[in-house]
Symmetry: C2
Subunit: 140 residues, 2 copies
């Protein structure tokens, strides 16, 4: 199942836990996270969606993404060989309609300055994308 | 000119200054700001859009909105009797396509805790509205 489809189910599920999600979030130049989720208490969770074994094994970047959230999760479909995934990361089983958290990612709290910067960036990206959808004539 | 039309021009103009905008922002129960704008350095600006003299004179709530941003502005169209507006507030002249800042609102910086709370709320509202537009099947 393509990553974007998994991301939709992930975002729906996290919304039911009070999280607001931004897909394809760019915390910094050259980095793109599949889902960044902002919780009711300001928690920041990073979720990378993997469509297949090769999609995971060819990803050389994911360890650089651990530093951008308080918790890190993989989201995969139910046919994915989950034994491949590092046990010290969170695990979400998803489809295009919903998802379930099977294992929480361990908490490694962001430092205050980075939390502030990531939250502001999340706010700005979400609002700019929203504006472009509401007002296609806007030039951002 | 209706307030929502002015808001569109305001958001377009502020976007050109690097601000991300959320319309009809609810910072707290019973409060609704026409435009909340988040700047590149984390600045929070509040803009109330007034369509007519009576729209302004019947507004008993606006002073309660001063506390939610670092600066406060009125946005009105070019026919509005701007003499009515308090001189110690900012002034934006807008139409549905663009806007211009005629007078900066004085800066009264938010305290850190409120800035953090408002920024988080801005982020969550923007992301939730974006998700509903991208995925109408989501239940938030």
């Amino acid at each position: 199942m393509p990553g974007q489809v998994l991301a939709r189910g992930v975002c729906r599920h996290l919304a039911s836990h009070g999280f607001a999600c931004v897909e394809e979030f760019t915390p910094d130049r050259g980095k793109r996270l599949d889902v960044m989720a902002l919780g009711p208490k300001g928690e920041l969770w990073v979720i990378e969606c993997k469509s297949s074994r090769v999609d995971f094994t060819s990803d050389a970047k994911w360890q650089g993404y651990l530093d951008w959230g308080d918790r890190y999760f993989w989201a995969v479909d139910e046919g994915f060989p989950t034994d491949l995934l590092p046990p010290e990361t969170g695990l979400i089983i998803a489809d295009g309609y919903d998802a379930e958290i099977l294992r929480m990612g361990p908490e490694t709290k962001l430092a205050g300055a980075r939390r502030k910067a990531v939250t502001q960036r999340f706010a700005r990206i979400a609002a700019q994308r929203l504006q472009l959808l509401r007002d296609p004539g806007a030039v951002l």
